[in-house]
Amino acid sequence: MEPLIRVRGLGKQFGPGCPRCLALTGPEADTNLCPACGTVVACHGIHFDLYPGEALGVVGESGSGKSTLVRLLHFEWPASCGTMEIHRSALAGLGLDDAGGEGGAYSGNLLACNDFRKRQLRHLLMGIVYQNPHLGLRMGISAGGNIAERLLGAGWRNIARMRARAAELLDKTEVPVSRMDEPPANFSGGMQQRVQIAKALSNNPLLLFLDEVTTGLDLSVQARVLDLIRNLSHEFKLALLVVSHDLGVINLLCQRTMVMKAGRVVESGLTDQILQDPQHRYSQLLVASQL
């Protein structure tokens, strides 16, 4: 099996940048702020493959660059450097075959596509669930409408079919279908999160980003949301990129994990290996503080 996406040398800097930025930041320096020029090296040199149907964890403290990583891959922020390629088979039949590249199994660098193409790729291939439901949902528009938005973006133009799909997804995510035409502003935090998941799944994405999805929820609600994600990711054969500072969440969902610190990946491996035999100083500290 070949990777669904290949990410190479991905980085993001905020600030003017200087020749010493990379040497003066990172896990050894224990900062992502360049002392010479004030540039924030939010992440740098990220390198990984994500396979179809796999859940890859990204763990690290706040400010380690893990959310930046998601925003780069979801095309929300432009990357400063690096590439992201997708397997051509994922593009087949979507009318996106001209995503660059020179033949071969992989597309060109998706991060270099224009905004129009990026939006299409996002609508047809990706889903995202944010920690804050306000980022992923329009609070004034009905729950069903929120799901329809994604379908409309992917070109659906039949109200009855969109509503049937929204009802199906809300049912799967355990949101009462009777509340489909209510705005999520009326819902509890856990329910908003489930509407977000329903929205993210509506276009049958191949790639789902989860950015601290359970942070801030009650423990019992966390458990339900995680169970839901676990079941749905099997059912939908999703490739997941799970960002969390909670090793419990990572352990539950992910087979492989990357540990980030000060904008760099300091270690990557099998999740059970990271948890039981962490190699890097920082991974050991992280595991020791959590377990």
Partner: protein
């Protein structure tokens, strides 16, 4: 089928000033296809470490672990890429830990069915039937099938654990004190199940603290010092 050469594992504890703990050293053995190798040795000698290195929960420090896989042919488990290890775990290598460590809020039946569905590609009904049969043989009453194993007694949990690990018939099974928390009767049932699996061609490497038990199941014993 699997041969270990000069395996060593050291833990470097960066947060204790880089202190190094050697868990095992110079371990070598070979297991032929379909046989059972027992690991013995005093507590703390690194028996579990060896099993975890084979399963790659621990990253081996030194040495080679040559394994003739059905999926990739001969590979070195010590250096095989993560993805390939996951592939082998999915398709041919099983591991029974001392304690049940499964996903919370999943019923006992689902716990056992899950690898059957994923690894053997069984239909749900067939998987349900097989998992139910297995649990009943391990004396888990059907009324507990839909309950969460987290609420079970230690012995019951361990029996669910074993059912999950052997239900999908792995080609190579790593056993870390599978019977430690079981009464004699249950332990005998487990040994019976292991014998059946071996009769179907599975290879096993196991740790049993009970030397007598070890002598009855193992074709060969490797002493870890």
């Amino acid at each position: 089928m699997i041969s270990v050469h000069n395996l060593a594992k050291t833990f470097t504890l960066h947060n204790l000033g880089g202190k190094c703990l050697t868990a095992c050293q110079g371990v070598s053995f070979a297991v032929s296809h379909g046989s059972f190798l027992g690991l013995s040795g005093p507590s703390g000698a690194g028996k579990s470490t060896v099993l975890k290195c084979l399963y790659r929960t621990y990253l081996p420090e030194q040495g080679a672990i040559r394994y003739c896989s059905a999926t990739f042919g001969e590979v070195d488990l010590a250096t095989l890429p993560d993805r390939a290890i996951l592939e082998l775990r999915q398709r041919e290598i099983g591991y029974v830990s001392q304690f049940l460590k499964v996903i919370p809020r999943v019923s006992a039946l689902e716990v056992v069915m899950e690898p059957m569905l994923r690894q053997n590609g069984l239909a749900r009904e067939e998987a349900r039937r097989r998992a139910g049969g297995l649990l009943e043989r391990l004396r888990i009453p059907p009324r507990l099938f839909d309950a969460y194993p987290a609420t079970f007694s230690g012995g019951e949990q361990q029996r669910v654990n074993i059912a999950r690990a052997i239900g999908w018939k792995p080609r190579l099974l790593l056993l870390d004190e599978p019977t430690a928390s079981l009464d004699q009767h249950s332990a005998a049932t487990v040994l019976g199940l292991l014998a059946e699996l071996r009769a179907e061609g599975a290879t096993m490497i196991g740790i049993f603290h009970d030397q007598e038990l070890l002598a009855t199941v193992a074709d060969d014993v490797c002493r870890i010092a």
